[in-house]
Protein backbone atom coordinates (compact mmCIF):
# COMPACT_ATOMS: atom_id res chain seq x y z
CA UNK A 1 0.00 0.00 0.00
CA UNK A 2 1.49 3.34 -1.07
CA UNK A 3 1.35 6.07 1.56
CA UNK A 4 -0.27 9.25 0.24
CA UNK A 5 -0.79 12.20 2.60
CA UNK A 6 0.17 15.42 0.88
CA UNK A 7 -0.97 16.85 -2.48
CA UNK A 8 2.51 16.08 -3.83
CA UNK A 9 2.14 12.42 -2.76
CA UNK A 10 -1.10 12.20 -4.75
CA UNK A 11 0.33 14.04 -7.74
CA UNK A 12 3.31 11.67 -7.78
CA UNK A 13 0.90 8.89 -8.76
CA UNK A 14 -1.39 10.68 -11.20
CA UNK A 15 0.39 9.24 -14.22
CA UNK A 16 -0.08 5.68 -12.92
CA UNK A 17 -3.68 6.54 -12.01
CA UNK A 18 -4.27 7.72 -15.56
CA UNK A 19 -2.87 4.43 -16.87
CA UNK A 20 -5.03 2.42 -14.49
CA UNK A 21 -1.72 1.00 -13.32
CA UNK A 22 -2.30 1.36 -9.59
CA UNK A 23 -3.91 -0.72 -6.84
CA UNK A 24 -7.65 -0.59 -6.19
CA UNK A 25 -7.24 1.01 -2.76
CA UNK A 26 -4.80 3.66 -4.03
CA UNK A 27 -7.13 4.36 -6.94
CA UNK A 28 -9.99 5.03 -4.51
CA UNK A 29 -7.81 7.31 -2.36
CA UNK A 30 -6.71 9.36 -5.37
CA UNK A 31 -10.27 9.61 -6.64
CA UNK A 32 -11.45 10.84 -3.22
CA UNK A 33 -8.61 13.36 -3.06
CA UNK A 34 -9.32 14.72 -6.55
CA UNK A 35 -13.00 15.12 -5.65
CA UNK A 36 -12.16 17.43 -2.76
CA UNK A 37 -8.98 19.18 -3.96
CA UNK A 38 -9.61 21.55 -6.94
CA UNK A 39 -5.88 22.38 -7.56
CA UNK A 40 -4.95 18.68 -7.80
CA UNK A 41 -8.04 17.99 -9.89
CA UNK A 42 -6.90 20.73 -12.30
CA UNK A 43 -3.42 19.24 -12.43
CA UNK A 44 -4.97 15.86 -13.21
CA UNK A 45 -7.17 17.27 -15.99
CA UNK A 46 -4.20 19.11 -17.52
CA UNK A 47 -2.14 15.89 -17.36
CA UNK A 48 -4.93 13.92 -19.07
CA UNK A 49 -5.22 16.59 -21.75
CA UNK A 50 -1.45 16.53 -22.30
CA UNK A 51 -1.47 12.77 -22.85
CA UNK A 52 -4.50 13.08 -25.11
CA UNK A 53 -2.91 15.64 -27.43
CA UNK A 54 0.43 13.79 -27.48
CA UNK A 55 -1.45 10.93 -29.14
CA UNK A 56 -3.08 13.20 -31.70
CA UNK A 57 -0.76 16.15 -32.21
CA UNK A 58 2.59 14.73 -33.34
CA UNK A 59 2.63 14.24 -37.09
CA UNK A 60 3.80 10.95 -38.59
CA UNK A 61 4.48 12.17 -42.09
CA UNK A 62 7.49 11.04 -44.06
CA UNK A 63 8.64 13.17 -47.02
CA UNK A 64 8.23 11.46 -50.40
CA UNK A 65 11.94 11.87 -51.20
CA UNK A 66 12.92 10.16 -47.92
CA UNK A 67 10.55 7.30 -48.77
CA UNK A 68 12.03 6.93 -52.28
CA UNK A 69 15.64 7.04 -51.04
CA UNK A 70 14.84 4.39 -48.42
CA UNK A 71 13.28 2.13 -51.04
CA UNK A 72 16.26 2.50 -53.39
CA UNK A 73 18.75 2.04 -50.54
CA UNK A 74 17.13 -1.21 -49.43
CA UNK A 75 16.84 -2.56 -52.96
CA UNK A 76 20.53 -1.84 -53.49
CA UNK A 77 21.69 -3.34 -50.19
CA UNK A 78 19.27 -6.24 -49.84
CA UNK A 79 19.83 -7.72 -53.27
CA UNK A 80 16.59 -6.78 -55.05
CA UNK A 81 17.23 -5.78 -58.66
Amino acid sequence: MIEMKTCKDFCDHLSDYLEGDIGEKECELIKEHLDKCPPCELIFRSLRKTVDICGKGVSAGIPEEVRIRLKNFLREHCGKT
Binding site: C7, K8, C11, D12, L14, S15, D16, E19, D21, P39, L42, I43, R45, S46, L47, K49, T50, V51, I53, C54, G55, K56, G57, V58, S59, A60, G61, I62, V66, R67, R69, L70, K71, F73, L74, H77, C78, G79, K80
Partner: protein, 199 residues
Protein backbone atom coordinates in the same frame (compact mmCIF):
# COMPACT_ATOMS: atom_id res chain seq x y z
CA UNK B 1 -2.41 -11.97 -30.06
CA UNK B 2 -3.92 -9.19 -32.18
CA UNK B 3 -4.46 -9.22 -35.93
CA UNK B 4 -1.57 -6.85 -36.71
CA UNK B 5 0.86 -9.08 -34.79
CA UNK B 6 -0.39 -12.15 -36.67
CA UNK B 7 -0.24 -10.39 -40.03
CA UNK B 8 3.31 -9.19 -39.33
CA UNK B 9 4.44 -12.69 -38.36
CA UNK B 10 3.12 -14.21 -41.56
CA UNK B 11 4.74 -11.39 -43.56
CA UNK B 12 8.06 -11.99 -41.74
CA UNK B 13 7.77 -15.68 -42.62
CA UNK B 14 7.36 -14.79 -46.29
CA UNK B 15 10.46 -12.58 -46.13
CA UNK B 16 12.44 -15.44 -44.58
CA UNK B 17 11.32 -17.62 -47.50
CA UNK B 18 12.92 -15.11 -49.88
CA UNK B 19 9.99 -12.83 -50.73
CA UNK B 20 11.54 -9.34 -50.87
CA UNK B 21 8.18 -7.76 -51.74
CA UNK B 22 6.94 -8.91 -48.33
CA UNK B 23 9.81 -6.99 -46.72
CA UNK B 24 8.80 -3.89 -48.66
CA UNK B 25 5.29 -4.35 -47.26
CA UNK B 26 6.74 -4.15 -43.73
CA UNK B 27 8.84 -1.11 -44.69
CA UNK B 28 5.77 0.61 -46.14
CA UNK B 29 3.80 -0.12 -42.99
CA UNK B 30 6.34 1.11 -40.44
CA UNK B 31 8.59 3.68 -42.16
CA UNK B 32 6.62 6.79 -41.15
CA UNK B 33 6.41 5.77 -37.47
CA UNK B 34 10.08 4.78 -37.30
CA UNK B 35 11.08 8.03 -39.01
CA UNK B 36 8.98 10.07 -36.54
CA UNK B 37 10.54 8.22 -33.59
CA UNK B 38 14.08 8.76 -34.91
CA UNK B 39 13.46 12.44 -35.66
CA UNK B 40 12.23 12.92 -32.11
CA UNK B 41 15.24 11.07 -30.69
CA UNK B 42 18.05 12.73 -32.64
CA UNK B 43 16.37 16.04 -33.56
CA UNK B 44 18.22 16.16 -36.89
CA UNK B 45 16.40 15.22 -40.11
CA UNK B 46 19.38 14.05 -42.25
CA UNK B 47 20.69 11.91 -39.36
CA UNK B 48 17.20 10.53 -38.77
CA UNK B 49 17.07 9.51 -42.43
CA UNK B 50 20.44 7.74 -42.22
CA UNK B 51 19.27 5.93 -39.09
CA UNK B 52 15.99 5.01 -40.80
CA UNK B 53 17.91 3.29 -43.62
CA UNK B 54 20.25 1.61 -41.14
CA UNK B 55 17.31 0.39 -39.04
CA UNK B 56 15.54 -1.36 -41.92
CA UNK B 57 18.82 -2.77 -43.23
CA UNK B 58 19.62 -4.15 -39.75
CA UNK B 59 16.09 -5.54 -39.52
CA UNK B 60 16.38 -7.29 -42.91
CA UNK B 61 19.76 -8.79 -42.08
CA UNK B 62 18.72 -9.77 -38.57
CA UNK B 63 15.26 -11.08 -39.36
CA UNK B 64 16.29 -14.70 -38.71
CA UNK B 65 16.97 -13.61 -35.13
CA UNK B 66 13.41 -12.34 -34.66
CA UNK B 67 12.10 -14.91 -32.21
CA UNK B 68 8.49 -13.80 -32.22
CA UNK B 69 8.48 -13.45 -28.43
CA UNK B 70 7.65 -9.76 -28.87
CA UNK B 71 5.64 -8.19 -31.67
CA UNK B 72 7.49 -7.26 -34.87
CA UNK B 73 6.84 -3.56 -34.18
CA UNK B 74 8.43 -3.79 -30.70
CA UNK B 75 11.44 -5.60 -32.20
CA UNK B 76 11.78 -3.02 -34.98
CA UNK B 77 11.47 -0.03 -32.65
CA UNK B 78 14.12 -1.58 -30.42
CA UNK B 79 16.55 -1.71 -33.35
CA UNK B 80 15.76 1.92 -34.22
CA UNK B 81 16.15 3.04 -30.60
CA UNK B 82 19.49 1.22 -30.20
CA UNK B 83 20.78 2.76 -33.42
CA UNK B 84 19.75 6.25 -32.30
CA UNK B 85 21.25 5.83 -28.83
CA UNK B 86 24.53 4.53 -30.30
CA UNK B 87 24.59 7.49 -32.67
CA UNK B 88 23.93 9.97 -29.83
CA UNK B 89 26.51 8.37 -27.51
CA UNK B 90 29.11 8.76 -30.23
CA UNK B 91 28.15 12.25 -31.34
CA UNK B 92 26.75 13.85 -28.17
CA UNK B 93 27.63 11.57 -25.21
CA UNK B 94 26.46 14.19 -22.72
CA UNK B 95 22.92 13.88 -24.13
CA UNK B 96 22.58 10.23 -23.07
CA UNK B 97 23.23 10.28 -19.35
CA UNK B 98 21.13 7.73 -17.50
CA UNK B 99 20.97 9.94 -14.44
CA UNK B 100 20.02 12.96 -16.51
CA UNK B 101 17.13 14.75 -14.87
CA UNK B 102 14.58 17.19 -16.16
CA UNK B 103 15.66 20.45 -14.56
CA UNK B 104 13.85 20.91 -11.28
CA UNK B 105 11.73 17.84 -11.82
CA UNK B 106 14.16 15.56 -10.00
CA UNK B 107 11.89 16.40 -7.10
CA UNK B 108 8.80 17.84 -8.76
CA UNK B 109 6.68 20.25 -6.81
CA UNK B 110 3.91 20.42 -9.44
CA UNK B 111 3.26 23.88 -10.68
CA UNK B 112 -0.37 24.64 -9.97
CA UNK B 113 -2.33 24.30 -13.16
CA UNK B 114 -4.18 27.29 -14.50
CA UNK B 115 -7.49 26.58 -16.21
CA UNK B 116 -6.53 28.15 -19.58
CA UNK B 117 -4.84 25.05 -20.98
CA UNK B 118 -7.58 22.69 -19.81
CA UNK B 119 -10.29 24.89 -21.30
CA UNK B 120 -8.50 25.48 -24.63
CA UNK B 121 -10.51 23.74 -27.38
CA UNK B 122 -8.94 20.78 -29.15
CA UNK B 123 -8.96 22.52 -32.54
CA UNK B 124 -6.62 25.19 -31.11
CA UNK B 125 -4.42 22.64 -29.33
CA UNK B 126 -4.14 20.70 -32.60
CA UNK B 127 -3.74 23.75 -34.85
CA UNK B 128 -0.39 24.33 -36.55
CA UNK B 129 0.66 26.60 -33.68
CA UNK B 130 -0.61 24.16 -31.05
CA UNK B 131 1.26 21.25 -32.63
CA UNK B 132 4.43 23.32 -32.79
CA UNK B 133 4.19 24.09 -29.07
CA UNK B 134 3.63 20.43 -28.29
CA UNK B 135 6.61 19.36 -30.43
CA UNK B 136 8.83 22.01 -28.80
CA UNK B 137 7.79 20.86 -25.33
CA UNK B 138 8.61 17.24 -26.20
CA UNK B 139 11.89 18.16 -27.87
CA UNK B 140 12.93 20.10 -24.75
CA UNK B 141 13.06 16.85 -22.75
CA UNK B 142 16.30 14.87 -22.26
CA UNK B 143 16.47 12.04 -24.80
CA UNK B 144 15.69 9.15 -22.44
CA UNK B 145 12.54 10.90 -21.18
CA UNK B 146 11.59 12.06 -24.66
CA UNK B 147 11.91 8.53 -26.04
CA UNK B 148 9.73 6.99 -23.33
CA UNK B 149 7.03 9.63 -23.78
CA UNK B 150 7.02 9.27 -27.58
CA UNK B 151 6.91 5.46 -27.43
CA UNK B 152 4.11 5.41 -24.85
CA UNK B 153 1.92 8.42 -25.60
CA UNK B 154 2.59 9.03 -29.29
CA UNK B 155 3.23 5.49 -30.59
CA UNK B 156 0.85 3.81 -28.16
CA UNK B 157 3.12 1.02 -26.88
CA UNK B 158 2.33 -0.51 -23.49
CA UNK B 159 4.61 0.09 -20.50
CA UNK B 160 5.97 -3.43 -20.89
CA UNK B 161 6.68 -2.91 -24.60
CA UNK B 162 8.42 0.42 -23.88
CA UNK B 163 10.59 -1.33 -21.28
CA UNK B 164 11.54 -3.95 -23.91
CA UNK B 165 12.28 -1.32 -26.55
CA UNK B 166 14.35 0.83 -24.17
CA UNK B 167 15.92 -2.23 -22.50
CA UNK B 168 15.08 -0.91 -19.06
CA UNK B 169 12.83 -1.86 -16.15
CA UNK B 170 9.11 -1.04 -16.01
CA UNK B 171 9.59 1.10 -12.83
CA UNK B 172 12.25 3.14 -14.67
CA UNK B 173 9.87 3.58 -17.62
CA UNK B 174 7.05 4.67 -15.30
CA UNK B 175 9.28 7.14 -13.48
CA UNK B 176 10.56 8.72 -16.72
CA UNK B 177 7.09 8.79 -18.22
CA UNK B 178 5.65 10.54 -15.18
CA UNK B 179 8.35 13.21 -15.20
CA UNK B 180 8.23 13.66 -18.96
CA UNK B 181 4.45 14.06 -18.99
CA UNK B 182 4.61 16.54 -16.16
CA UNK B 183 7.34 18.59 -17.86
CA UNK B 184 5.35 18.73 -21.12
CA UNK B 185 2.19 19.56 -19.19
CA UNK B 186 3.89 22.44 -17.38
CA UNK B 187 5.33 23.79 -20.60
CA UNK B 188 1.88 23.76 -22.27
CA UNK B 189 0.15 25.21 -19.20
CA UNK B 190 2.63 28.13 -19.18
CA UNK B 191 2.28 28.68 -22.91
CA UNK B 192 -1.53 28.80 -22.88
CA UNK B 193 -1.57 30.99 -19.77
CA UNK B 194 0.74 33.54 -21.47
CA UNK B 195 -1.25 33.27 -24.70
CA UNK B 196 -4.50 33.93 -22.86
CA UNK B 197 -3.06 36.89 -20.95
CA UNK B 198 -1.60 38.51 -24.05
CA UNK B 199 -4.54 38.06 -26.25
Amino acid sequence: MNKTTNDDRSTVQRVLEGDFDAFETLVEKYQARIYRHLRKMVKDDPCAEDLLQETFLNAYRGLKGFSGESSFSTWLFRIATNNALMFLRKRRPESVQYDDEIGDHANPFYMTASPEFVSTPLEILLSEEGRRQLEEAIEGLPVLYRSVLVLKDVEGFSLEEVSQIMDTSIPAVKSRLHRARNAVRESLVEYYLDRDMSG
